[in-house]
Amino acid sequence: MNATILTAAWGIVLMLAGAFIKNKSIPKYIAIGGLLLIIAANARELYTVNEGEILFAIDVKDMLHTTAFNLTFITVMLVCTLLFFLLSGRDIEKVGNHVAEYFALIFFVLCGVCIVATFNTLLMLFIGIEIISIPLYILTGSDKRNLKSNEAALKYFLMGAFSTGIMLMGIAFIYGGTESASFFLDKINMGAGKMPVMIAVGLVLLLISMSFKASAAPFHFWTPDVYDGAPTVFTSFMATIVKAAVFFAFLRLFEKAFGSVQPQWQKLIVLITAATLLIGNLTAVFQQSVKRMLAYSSIAQAGFMLFALFALNEKAKEGLVLYTAAYSLATIGIFAVLIKMNDYTIDGFNGLAKKQPVLAFAATVFLLSLTGIPLTAGFQGKFYMLLAAVTNGHNLWLVILAVLCAAISAYYYFRVIQAMYFKESNDAAVQEWDVTPAFKILLLITAALIIVLGVKPDLIIDWLYL
């Protein structure tokens, strides 16, 4: 709750700052400061979650429901955002003139993230998703001169709006199908037993729209183009925090509202997961541009995250938080490195280890984490997901498929590592590196975080059940 309100408020603050402050580098500091504040507030709420004392005692009619679980998630996301600001803040300033507005929009998105992490009624879900999407349409198109950016924005917007329509249709059918005639998750949930057709229809439609937002196949088509077209900083943000939040919402919705009838819709998840894993990994193999490769890899990772819905048990929930944390950290890091490159193709990374050992090392850690090598957070995430899936016990072939796809993913992640360490840089033109010592240190910190999480995932998981 604290975070929800404060993020919104800080968004407005930044918006106004944009109106009055002309200096381009100020907004970043305002944003970082605000974010620290918000994290503190949220952390306090998390500590005192059992006493239930919060700064803003608004009676929200339980439309937003905060527990240690989703507060922890929010904290993780806010921390990731902080890292994102710290690592890529300077690059946000490079995108265009409206720096403060960009930050404001990001804060609005964060507000949406908080909402979808805590929503308790379909209305809030809808609004949350929208408040995430609309600023993103803009951020995607924020590089106005760049046609790629335009195209990405247009595609994203049209398809996003389309999926919104589908989601609303789903909500409508759910509403019509339940005797309780309510949008509240717990009211929708009507025990085991065959679901009425209307609920089923609504469920499928919701599933589809959420899969769209989570970029799960076959509703992933927007992802590569948008991630590729959007300014890289914002891609980094979209691909990590936003995606994570959507997944969290996805899980929350289907666990609270449809958890009791999971067996009836699990087959859909199986189909989607399989398709996502295959398409994501296969397509990533071919890519020559690292940026686009990461876009596809984000789809592939989504395939793994879908195991949370496939399993829908305690381990799955813990796993999702862990996975999103690991994935976000690594992706933010790798994008932060990517932004510094002149040449986004894999060959552009050739011999990076010689030119920028620190960047190369950090990038290696991130990539290893994404591959899921032990001692990195990525492994813990994958491990929990597999654990959850095997615990669930059905469709073990899907698990096998998943690990084989993980092996494929090693193929494209390691291509970058190979380029950095084992290939000689071919371009004679020496690029000037906009790499401050602070940046390097931050990268190393991020890498360290990943390894710490890889060794002791308890650090997060213990918070979930405060």
């Binding site: 813990e318 032990p374 073990l396 096998i400 993980a406 090693a410 193929y411 190979q418 084992f422 002791k456």
Partner: protein, 492 residues
């Protein structure tokens, strides 16, 4: 609180790990070399010291040491039983050898090289001491990563493809094993606060139904088979050996390959007795065919490294077959042979490396007459080669003798067919000796000089070890007897 003496398992992991990280930090390459050598000797000392506590229940770590991932009932549980001690000893023994033998080779940014080597050592130590499935898996993967970097950074011409194939291959295998581990874990009965447990003895006592065993078996076996490697999962090996730098090849073939064999003994046989009973004929068949197959291919090889690689495949095939004969004598032989083979093959690699360094070629057909130029080298090589073909009174004889008789107990014909490989081994080994060392010198080998002192020392250490173990194997048997009985006790 354990006494210091019983912290040996941890020490065995920490000392190379810390030294490895140290190597990365220090800039000077000379010092890195020294640090590596020094730490590896320390590790050796620790490992020797740990022998004094052999068979100590506390040392064999069958009790929780550190809480770790407590929600999952995993704990950082490591210990040394007889088999573990033998293999940690092998690991600790090999690394100084390797470092000294390659002391004169100068790698570019050597500190990274030695750092990674030591990390690999730490990983291997972990694998051999793990008493907890999750810890085991962790180290199983961790041992792989540094080796991957070593190979593709300092390797030969086609290193990137070769080692990458190797990496993905083994990675896929171990992920399958991870699924298996998780599945078994979910069947285990945990203690009070957690539902399940990853602890070794929990795994040993897990009740698995027949059908479960039959498919779980494969999840584990494929991972191990790739690592060992067993025909037909072996094709990564010759390429990798060919492409890797000598020191790494030694680690790979000397120790890493043993990971697979070790894992089969530690995890596969005790966990899935019925599956083993069901599939033993099939797998022994594969292994035996693999032996003949590899030996025949070895005859055709013109590249020294590939030849040794294939001969190693043949030897491993025998080990695998002997394991699955699940006779105590056969398994005892395998444990023995893991140690012997490790030493011998490292010796072989050292010789191969020396030749390549001096002549710049590995093609058998281009070499010849080295015996005139470097008699000491020749004698050493001949001894090691003879050990490689398991001549009596060399270490390999004992192991192979027992493995064969175990195999024979299992099935006469398998033993007979497998026996053919010892003839073939003689053929290709002696061929190699003749073509490379005997005959007249040629343009390439004319310049060969006698080997340097450090190499002499190393090789003689190896030779002494070969004969020592070959004549007095009994101490090693006493060391590992109990471990074997445990394995097979579970297996029955």
């Amino acid at each position: 609180m354990q006494t210091l003496g019983l912290r040996f398992p941890e020490l065995l992991i920490w000392s190379p790990l810390i030294a490895g990280l140290l190597c990365f930090i220090i800039r000077s390459e000379k010092n890195a070399k020294a640090v590596a050598l020094f730490s590896s000797i320390i590790t050796l000392a620790i490992s020797f010291a740990s022998l004094m506590y052999a068979g100590d229940k506390q040392l064999s770590g069958l009790k929780d040491s550190y809480q770790w991932l407590h929600q999952l009932g995993a704990s950082f549980n490591i210990g040394l039983d007889g088999m573990g001690q033998l293999l940690t000893l092998l690991t600790a023994f090999s690394f100084p050898l390797i470092f000294v033998a390659t002391y004169n080779t100068n790698y570019k940014n050597a500190n990274a090289f030695y750092g990674l080597m030591l990390l690999a050592q730490a990983g291997l130590m972990g694998v051999f001491t793990a008493m907890d499935a999750l810890v085991f898996y962790f180290f199983w993967e961790l041992a792989l990563i540094p080796v991957y970097f070593l190979c593709s950074r300092w390797g030969g011409e086609k290193r990137i493809q070769a080692t990458f194939k190797f990496f993905v291959y083994t990675f896929a295998g171990s992920l399958l094993m991870l699924i298996g581990i998780i599945y078994v874990y979910l069947q285990t009965a945990g203690n009070g606060e957690v539902a399940h447990s990853f602890a070794l003895n929990a795994f040993y006592n897990v009740p698995l139904t027949y059908p479960q065993q039959f498919w779980l078996f494969w999840l584990f076996f494929i991972a191990f088979a790739i690592k060992m490697p067993i025909f037909p999962f072996h094709t990564w090996q010759p390429d990798t050996y060919e492409q890797s730098p000598a020191a790494v090849t030694m680690v790979l073939s000397g120790i890493m390959v043993k990971m697979g064999v070790f894992a089969v003994l530690r995890w596969l046989i005790p966990l899935f007795p019925d599956a083993v009973a069901k599939y033993d004929t099939l797998i022994i068949g594969l292994s035996v065919f693999g032996m003949i197959y590899a030996s025949l291919i070895a005859i055709k090889q013109d590249d020294l490294k590939r030849l040794v690689a294939y001969s190693s495949i043949a030897h491993i095939g025998l080990m695998c077959a002997a394991i699955f004969s699940s006779t105590s004598i056969g398994v005892q032989g395998v444990v023995m042979q893991m140690f012997s083979h490790g030493i011998n093959i490292i010796g072989l690699w050292i010789v191969v490396d020396l030749i390549e360094k001096q002549t710049g070629v590995r093609k058998i057909s281009q070499l010849g007459g080295i015996a005139h130029k470097a008699p000491v080298l020749t004698i050493m090589l001949v001894v090691i080669a003879l050990a490689n073909i398991a001549l009596p009174l060399t270490n390999a004889f004992v192991g192979e003798f027992m493995m064969f008789s175990g195999l024979f107990k299992f099935n006469v014909w398998y033993a007979a067919i497998a026996g053919i490989s010892i003839i073939l081994a003689a053929v290709y080994t002696l061929n190699m000796v003749q073509k490379v060392f005997y005959g007249e010198t040629n343009a390439i080998t004319a310049t060969v000089k006698e080997i340097a002192l450090n190499e002499k020392i190393i090789l003689s250490v190896i030779v002494v070890a070969i004969f020592l173990v070959g004549v007095f194997p009994q101490p090693l048997f006493n060391l590992t007897k109990d471990a074997v009985t445990v394995i097979l006790g579970k297996g029955k």
